[in-house]
């Protein structure tokens, strides 16, 4: 019997640039209000808060501290923070619920990528001695991975472009998504210039300012607060080596391991929907293979990261969208995936089900 469920989700509009500050409060206050309205809860009902964000998006130390203003943390609250995507904050929150120390937990993630030069700053995720001093940007790193697969005939540029077309068309029905269009054509896209051969602009997620929030509850409370809770039946994450040249970049073994452990493709019971956190088109193809997803699975109906990639919230938003599919009755079993680090180094899988 599952012990906790997702009962609410909201995401801020995915925008190329907001007027707000890097501490996220302007993006968070409205979406906290949304999930409280969805559930009838107030801030005093939340037993544990956990956030995900990064100082390097803001350009100053302790930037997440000001975000706590959005909580209204007085009387004092039980609260924690990871310097990772909010999906990992949700994981920490779920563990807290499993210990029995909280019945209802709220995880949030936020990032104002437009404040800095995201492509540049992500170079600092790489080995500080032998790689980062060369300042390889994040798109170039992804492009290396893309070509490796193209050369080995693991995927084609056409397949990559089809991911882009499908994602942006799906995003049309997501009011909070960013570049949405159902008029893109594969041939047109393939004829556009490269941004980092072999990647075209359509292969890359946009720069996005955004935030997301997910509320989970322990069993009895979940049934009280939500008509159709999305029960968490698997929640796992793994990490691969930090050395780019020492691992096979065409695969994501940590995603495979996380997916297996989470029961994503349990014998005879795959998922109906998989929301994949793939900021590059070829990475969606890698993840589909890594997670063993058959063609019958609907991939990222929200549009995925290609339709909005708010750093440190995008993974949490994938879980939120997956849960929404279950909560709305559109799916009976769904998977939300999050990634961290260059070229799919770390991967998290959350499986949610109806009952």
């Amino acid at each position: 019997m599952p012990e906790a469920a997702v009962i609410a989700f909201a995401e801020a509009p995915n925008l190329r640039r907001t007027d707000g500050t890097t501490n996220g409060v302007e993006m968070l206050v409205p979406i906290f209000r949304e999930v409280f309205e969805q559930t009838g809860l107030t801030k005093s009902d939340i037993g544990f808060w956990c956030s995900g964000s990064s100082d390097y998006l803001a350009g100053r130390a302790f930037s997440f501290v000001s975000a706590v203003d959005a909580i209204g943390a007085f009387p004092p609250v039980m609260e924690s923070h990871v310097e990772m995507d909010g999906a990992f904050a949700l994981y920490e929150a779920w563990v807290k619920v499993l210990t029995g120390e909280a019945e209802i937990a709220l995880a949030y993630g936020f990032g104002k990528s437009s404040a800095g030069d995201l492509r540049r700053v992500l170079a600092l995720q790489l080995d500080p001695y032998v790689v980062a001093p060369l300042w390889p940007d994040s798109v170039s790193i992804a492009a290396l991975q893309a070509r490796l697969g193209l050369d080995e005939n693991l995927w084609t540029k056409r397949a990559m472009a089809e991911v882009a077309v499908r994602s942006r068309a799906a995003a049309v029905s997501n009011a909070r998504a960013q570049p949405a269009s159902d008029e893109l054509e594969v041939e047109e896209l393939l004829s556009e210039p490269y941004v980092a051969d072999p990647l075209h602009a359509h292969d890359c997620a946009p720069i996005t300012d955004g935030a997301a929030v997910v509320v989970i509850a322990a069993a009895d409370r979940a049934r009280e607060l939500c008509e159709r809770p999305a029960w968490i039946t698997g929640f796992e994450h793994r990490i691969d080596s930090g050395s780019l040249g020492a691992r096979d970049l065409t695969r994501a073994p940590s995603a495979t391991a996380a997916g297996v452990a989470a029961g994503a493709a349990a014998a005879g019971a795959t998922v109906d929907v998989a929301e994949l956190h793939a900021p590059f088109t070829h990475q969606e193809l890698i993840l589909r293979a890594a997670l063993g997803l058959p063609d019958s699975v609907r991939i990222s109906p929200s549009g995925g990261a290609l339709a909005g990639n708010p750093m440190f919230a995008a993974g949490l938003a994938r879980i939120g969208h997956a849960a929404r599919q279950v909560m709305s009755g559109s799916a009976s079993r769904a998977l939300g995936h999050a990634t961290s680090g260059p070229a799919l180094q770390q991967n998290l899988v959350c499986v949610v089900e109806a009952h």
Binding site: A61, S80, V95, L98, T99, G100, A218, E236
Partner: protein, 389 residues
């Protein structure tokens, strides 16, 4: 889910580095492994025995590495395993211990490695802490200048004699001399020498402030089966607690923050402790500026409000006193910011495991580990004991 389902957890081993102002002999990975290898040896385990890793450290800007757990995955033996990185400002070391404990208590893993570190000499703490965004009021002073006015307010509120802060400095630095890993080890420090040291932010003197250190700490936490299978002493984790309040808000009590007091009360209740001063044998408390010892003794309920200084003045917080505080020398001796909180947790465990060597409090059975961070904002703490209940 009922709390009764919570699994028992215990510290199987601890390890730390030799803390110094600079560790030029190691890389960031090497610094972490020094602590990790010692913790594994203390636990009688290897990296292959670890199921998950939790890393904690303070702002990435200190080392100029974004999300260093990514680079450290190999060094920490985390490849193929779950790895989390927590960051709750100065309390992060404590949060690391709490999160690692929760993973075991929730039944997720059998053995979790908690690692916290700071290699401050990659940059320097003053620079990283003084980056002010545009439009801010200019910073007037370093970290001590933020806390010194609240120390003044405590002295005013409690009527404490003004030498109490210096007494803490003398005790902690002499304790540090008993701790082979401590950064500052000053066996000959005296009340007079502390009071003669330069006044930095009146009323806080140079010798009453924490150093800036490179260092790391690691703790292996296991479930009941792992603890029972160990041939070495373990420290059972009776309870943990965490509380947060905003750094600044109208009506905030900076001297006796509500979040710290709430965290303490929740901790004692969960651990079944009715009178901390009677039932806790030793406390490792996060004291970065001397006066925080009496302030936190009150905040945590070891003394009534306004009377914490009396315990210090009477010598009751020395090893051999009624409530030894920071026998390791505490943050006043070693302050790798990201690790300082976990060091408090580790040192409390060492006390009940009987492995604290020269700074062992004789017969310690129940100990407190405490950390705080931000502007007296984040508080995390645990109680460990030599028996599970």
């Amino acid at each position: 889910m009922a709390s009764a389902d919570k699994q028992r957890a215990a510290v199987l081993g601890t390890g730390q580095t030799h803390h110094r102002s600079k560790r030029p002999d190691v890389s960031i990975a090497g610094l972490c492994r020094e602590a990790v290898d010692r913790a594994l040896a203390d636990a009688g385990l290897e990296l292959a025995d670890i199921d998950a890793v939790v890393v904690g450290k303070a702002p990435d800007l200190f080392e100029g590495v974004m999300m260093p757990e990514l680079y450290l995955a190999d060094a920490l033996g985390a490849v193929g395993k779950p790895l989390l990185r927590v960051h709750t400002a100065g309390s992060v070391g404590g949060a690391t211990g709490v999160v690692a404990t929760s993973l075991v208590q929730a039944g997720r893993h059998r053995r979790v490695l908690a690692v916290a570190f700071e290699k401050q000499s990659e940059s320097n703490a003053m620079w990283a802490l003084s980056i002010m965004p545009p439009f801010s009021m200019p910073l007037l002073a370093g970290a001590g200048g933020y806390f010194a006015p609240h120390v003044r307010a405590y002295i005013r509120r409690s009527g404490a004699p003004t030498h109490v802060g210096a007494l803490v400095a003398v005790k902690d630095r002499r304790n540090g001399a008993l701790n082979p890993y401590a950064h500052l080890r000053q066996p000959d420090i005296t009340l007079e020498s502390v009071q003669a040291s330069p006044m930095l932010w009146d009323p806080v003197r140079y010798d009453e402030t924490c150093p800036s250190s490179d260092g790391a700490c690691a703790v292996v936490i296991g479930d009941q089966a792992a603890a029972e299978a160990s041939s070495r002493p373990v420290a059972w984790i009776r309870a943990t607690s965490m509380r947060t309040e905003p750094t600044m808000f109208a009506g905030k009590d900076h001297v006796n923050p509500r979040a710290g007091a709430d965290a303490g009360k929740a901790l004692w209740a969960a651990a079944g402790i009715a009178s901390p001063i009677d039932e806790i044998d030793v406390a490792e408390i996060y004291v970065p500026f001397s006066w925080f010892e009496p302030m936190w003794l009150e905040n945590l309920g070891f003394a009534e409000e306004g009377k914490g200084w009396q315990l210090t003045e009477a010598g009751e917080t020395a090893i051999g006193g009624r409530i030894p505080v920071n026998p390791s020398g505490g943050v006043l001796c070693s302050n790798p910011i990201g690790a300082s909180g976990l060091l408090r947790f580790a040192e409390s465990a060492m006390q009940v495991m009987g492995t604290a060597g020269e700074h062992q409090v004789a017969g310690a059975k129940t100990a407190l580990g405490h950390a705080y961070g931000g502007g007296s904002q984040y508080f995390s703490m645990w109680v460990v004991a030599d028996t599970p209940d």
